[in-house]
């Protein structure tokens, strides 16, 4: 009896029931179901917020452990934890402090933190992606030596050159459009339909409680 309680009840009550309600809320225009769907999704956002606290605790434990054990690279963990401790205060105090003068300084500090630390660093990392993508394209023939790889290189070259075609090569733009809207579109649709199919079957398995990642049994 305990196995029935410990295996099925949490899955049915806490996963399948809310899941079916939200699904009904999306599929039918009924306002009541819509209201229930919104409340359940907002509830999930709140639980996800608590999960973020858990995530912060996980970061503290991992990097704190590295510092404690003096593992390799512990100074970087120290820098990370200090930055983390400093960075969460301004945005939080923004909503707690009422005095306008302090409010303004907090706004400036939060604005500066976002625009002069998080923004540039994030953008630089995203910019590095062009370097790693080009490097992997450079080594393509080492990883894959097949006709498919040659075709891949040809397509990439045509689409790249066609997006900002040099003067005199304007026809490349039309070739690029055709590649994107016909063979590219067909391949993308086939992939998207396949992914959607896999999503439907996996989701139904979870709602049928056949796959219970959250349960101890």
């Amino acid at each position: 009896m305990t196995k029935l309680i410990r295996r099925w009840i949490p899955s049915l009550l806490f996963a399948t029931l809310p899941g079916l309600t939200v699904l009904a809320g999306y599929l039918s225009p009924d306002p009541v179901l819509g209201y229930l769907r919104d409340r359940l999704v907002e509830g999930a956002v709140i639980v996800a917020a608590f999960a973020f606290l858990l995530g912060a605790f996980n970061i503290l434990r991992v990097h704190g452990g590295k510092i404690g054990h003096r593992e390799q690279g512990w100074p970087y963990s120290l820098v990370l934890l200090i930055a983390m401790m400093v960075a969460w205060i301004p945005p939080l105090l923004q909503s707690l402090v009422q005095r306008p003068q302090v409010q303004e300084t907090l706004d400036d500090v939060t604005h500066a933190l976002f625009n002069y630390v998080i923004g540039p660093a994030g953008a630089s990392l995203a910019a590095l992606v062009v370097f790693t993508l080009t490097l992997s394209a450079f080594r393509l023939m080492r990883v894959r030596r097949s006709a498919g790889a040659v075709l891949f290189l040809l397509i990439v070259a045509l689409v790249l050159l066609g997006s900002a075609p040099f003067i005199g090569l304007e026809w490349l733009a039309n070739v690029r459009d055709w590649i994107i809207n016909v063979p590219g579109m067909a391949g993308m649709r086939g992939l998207l339909l396949g992914v959607a199919l896999g999503t439907v079957i996996t989701a139904l398995r979870v709602l049928f409680t056949s796959h219970r990642p959250h349960s101890e049994f």
């Binding site: 599929l27 996800a48 990392l125 993508l133 490097l135 990883v143 199919l197 996996t202 056949s210």
Partner: protein, 247 residues
């Protein structure tokens, strides 16, 4: 009310339910097309244990409360299937996640494996790491883990964008084996030149069937294939109507 969507949902649910009931317990186990991206992971786990290293499993930036929930749950099956083996090898993997809601599930998968093997006290909670909340920061952080912790193989599976190339590059620098499975087109494009063992699109959702011999996963792939045929017929039907000008 989107009639098409409801019809398709009911049809899928019926087919899956019938198959799970009929062939979920007995009958011949369906044979599945093997995928090297998952099948070679066992070898890598063994090699990691022998060389004293670890396998890095990157589960992507998808969370449980968004559209990437199912992609992340499918990628999580890799950790669930591998857990018992790596625990018995005493070589726990390093699992990195980019969303705080996915971390508890990955931790549970490893913790339960340690409990099943009777050594709950050896479970190290820092095997699962929440790296950073945004996709690019997560990819850079996971690439740093792959480069600095003694990693022998990278299993990249889950919801990624083009920034997955950062992880693949860090792995290539360390001459690590790269196995990948992605559903997003941007990640597929970035991973295609980085590794030849790539599970494409819906192949990511077969992780459970590829890595375990549990019958329910294989049976749900049969349901998936039946629905596939129905979709193709629906496309051809719509095209037929379109040609006749009825659309």
């Amino acid at each position: 009310m989107d009639v098409g969507a409801i019809l398709l949902l009911i049809l899928s649910a019926l087919i899956l339910a019938v198959l799970l009931i009929l062939r979920g317990r007995k009958g011949p186990r369906p044979k599945i097309r093997p995928l090297p991206a998952f099948r070679d992971l066992w070898e890598e786990a063994g090699y990691a244990a022998e060389s004293g290293g670890a396998v890095h499993i990157a589960l992507g930036g998808g969370g449980l409360n968004g559209e990437d929930a199912i992609t992340s749950l499918a990628a999580l099956q890799v950790v669930e299937a591998l857990a018992d083996t790596v625990v018995s090898y005493h070589a726990p993997p390093v699992v990195t996640v980019g969303d705080p809601t996915l971390a508890p599930l990955a931790e549970d998968a490893l913790r339960r494996a340690y409990e099943r093997n009777g050594i709950p006290e050896l479970y190290d909670p820092s095997s699962v790491r929440f790296v950073a909340p945004t996709p690019v920061a997560y990819a850079a952080g996971a690439a740093h883990v792959a480069a600095t912790e003694h990693i022998t193989a990278n299993m990249i599976g889950g919801a990624f964008g083009a920034e997955v190339s950062l992880i693949a590059d860090a792995g290539a620098q360390q001459d690590q084996t790269q196995l990948a499975a992605a559903a997003d087109l941007r990640a597929l494009g970035a991973l295609y030149p980085a590794t030849d063992r790539l599970a494409v699109g819906e192949e990511l959702y077969t992780a459970g069937a590829q890595m375990t011999d549990e019958r329910r996963y294989a049976v749900s792939l049969v349901a998936q294939d039946i629905l596939r045929v129905i979709l193709v017929l629906a496309i051809l039907g719509t095209a037929g109507l379109a040609i006749l000008g009825g659309w």
